[in-house]
Symmetry: C2
Subunit: 112 residues, 2 copies
């Protein structure tokens, strides 16, 4: 069992090419014994963005605070708190924060 | 791709034996094409509780609002907003809301 306030998990900068103003906390991961998928909480600075990319795994997302734009296959979607997003495998996407920044939960299956 | 405010997904009563004052929204599920795991958002009324039970799959949880008590193998943990909980497979647990009720995200792998 693991029980923490999410801010107890260290905030790490995301250094992946194309990421700008992005940090992450891996709040539940394989290191905790999670057998199938990981919970991460991302913090984007105002104007920060994740790379526009695709990969063969899905994202399951819940917006906690702030807002911004999700681009999926060139289409823009406005994000606000309490929005839920499912990004299927193989679909190009990126998250870009507005003026308030954006904090969201993003779950991914473990890479096998 | 799916993008909704979570309240756009219907709230359904949980009728499982032992559940009291519990409703759920399956915001991302197999019906949306999610290949591995589902995102549900539970709403517990004040004093509401989920069954005290165990099962061979994990829970990955994030508390959105309100608060209450998580009992895991007889031990009580006080839950507050922004807490993260990992309940491993095979561990007895239940969630019980306090006076304000409790809303939380709970992810589970698809049953195979």
């Amino acid at each position: 069992m693991k029980h923490v306030h999410y801010t107890e998990v260290p905030l790490e900068p995301v250094t992946m090419a194309g990421a700008q103003g992005v940090s992450v906390r891996w709040v539940i991961s394989e290191a905790d014994g999670a057998p199938n998928f990981a919970m991460r909480i991302f913090e984007l600075e105002a104007g920060g963005s994740t790379p526009y990319h695709e990969h063969p795994w899905e994202h399951e997302v819940f917006i906690l605070a702030g807002g911004g734009i999700l681009t999926v296959e060139g289409q823009e979607e406005k994000l606000k708190p309490q929005d839920v997003v499912f990004v299927p495998p193989g679909v190009s996407h990126n998250f870009r924060a507005g003026d308030e920044g954006m904090t969201f939960i993003c779950l991914v299956p473990h890479q096998k």
